[in-house]
Symmetry: C2
Subunit: 294 residues, 2 copies
């Protein structure tokens, strides 16, 4: 059985692991995200101290360059994160460890991991969305991760304003209160209500409004991507009372337009949390390693 390395490369921490799958993680380590040189150096040292891996997978914060023919393939591109603009991620890892490196966005990794071991097993087409500090999505389409001009990211799709929320200026530096992230990310909730999302009581009307914005965005994803399942993770989604509200409002937003039994009769299985839970990210990176080894 092949042994893989995995890096969940986030803006605040890098999580490294070695294993054959999410239920067989043989070693793990966590490093704060400092400079690229220091952070990648610690990852390399970690893997050198482990049994030889067959391939490495990296699920990375973005935006990143994924076009295999691009000069900066495997780099982070235009992040505002100091020191990481145009930072090469794949090159130093591949050179130091001498293995194939599977590289994609953290959310594309997550949807691949869920397809391999989690909530999207057996599906050809699925979407994973994380709703937290930001909003981002990854898509498996026809069994393959979707790439394109850059990569789908979904957080900045536009949504109609809810009639009881016309005053809020929004929190997106690009799109104000026009896009999903500007209206429904964790920071947007904090800005609208004056307190951190996780401190809002379960009965606060913030959650009903949040569910409506998420449902609007999901209804757009349904008609654009036609996924067989929508998997929602991230900090905001830790409030599990959101799921029934989102399902209700998604059905209301679609208004009977999409006639598919999987959606109509199985909404509870159509909009779901990641089955891999907190391991979604690292499992995704393992799945990227496995793909790179094929």
């Amino acid at each position: 059985m092949s042994l893989y390395g995995a890096i969940e490369a986030g803006g605040t921490k890098f999580l490294c692991a070695v294993g054959t799958g999410p239920e067989d993680l043989r070693a793990q380590a966590r490093f704060p995200t400092t400079t690229p040189k220091e952070t990648l150096g610690k990852c390399i040292d970690f893997f050198r101290g482990q049994p030889k891996i067959d391939a490495l997978g990296v699920g990375c914060f973005g935006p990143i360059e994924l076009r295999s023919d691009a000069r900066r393939y495997g780099h982070v591109t235009t992040t505002p994160k100091v020191g990481w603009g145009n930072a090469d991620i794949v090159g130093p890892l591949r050179d130091a460890l001498g293995v194939a490196v599977g590289f994609d966005t953290d959310v594309n990794g997550a949807v691949l991991g869920e397809a391999r071991w989690g909530a999207a097993q057996g599906l050809d087409t699925a979407v994973y969305v994380t709703i937290g500090t930001g909003i981002g999505g990854g898509a498996l389409i026809g069994g393959r991760l979707a790439h394109g001009l850059v990569h789908p990211e979904m957080g900045h799709l536009l949504v109609p304003r809810e009639p009881d929320d016309l005053e809020f200026a929004g929190d997106c530096p690009f799109h104000g209160g026009r896009c999903w992230e500007g209206l429904a990310s964790g920071p947007a909730m904090e800005r609208r209500w004056g307190q951190r999302a996780e401190t809002l009581p379960a009965a606060h009307r913030a959650w009903d409004l949040e569910a409506r914005y998420i449902a609007s965005a999901l209804s757009t994803l349904v008609v654009v991507l036609s996924p067989e399942r929508l998997i929602l993770g991230g900090g905001v989604m830790q409030n599990s009372s959101l799921f029934p509200l989102i399902r209700k409002y998604l059905m209301r937003s679609l208004a009977g337009y999409v006639q598919a039994d999987l959606l109509i009769k199985g909404i509870d299985q159509y909009v779901v949390p990641p089955l891999l839970g907190q391991q979604s990210g690292i499992a995704g990176a393992l799945a990227l390693a496995e793909s790179a080894a094929l």
Copy 2:
């Protein structure tokens, strides 16, 4: 060189052709869309009168069943069009003509045709949208047509209302004035302005509003699908003054979020009409035939 049959199957007419490509159409015929039996019968008679084809492609109005393992694969599904609900399209054609039948939505056919011979040549990821009686889109992702739970169709993605258009009730029977089709289809324009879109003068403010709604929807498609090119066809887009307005408003709507040279430096080549023009549909069906023959 292989000879293919093509059917552009629309709600008002069926166009049949035989050829090797859009510049080599050797015979064509057009039939009004009456009953499935009569309409498909005329198509079959037409192809029987031609030299033997190697495969047939059908770009079909929808919604249609595309899951190859579904009992009703190759059928139109829930159309309100009388007589066509649950009508089998592929079965009668394949049985009568004894060839492989490539079957997909008209807009998926169109994007494949544009990729093969038109405006999306050499691209892995492109979107074709028709804006006319309705709004519908097809997507090529990673070089393959996108399918899923049903199929992407895009017309019912949600868009924010423009501040100078808050009164209009919208024209979508499902989503009123919340979705793209309800706000920007040809019938929506007619309902808003009290006259048919093609009779509105070029200087009428209808066109500026129309361009803003189209740009909003395209900006959502850009962040969800990350296409390398957006191809816009259909009746409403015959007003070519829309293109520069749409390009301007798309850049404004994205607001610098997507940093890709193809988009920033080449917006005139990023949002384009179909290169195959009125032949987009029949060329798409030929491309579907070619795919079926592979």
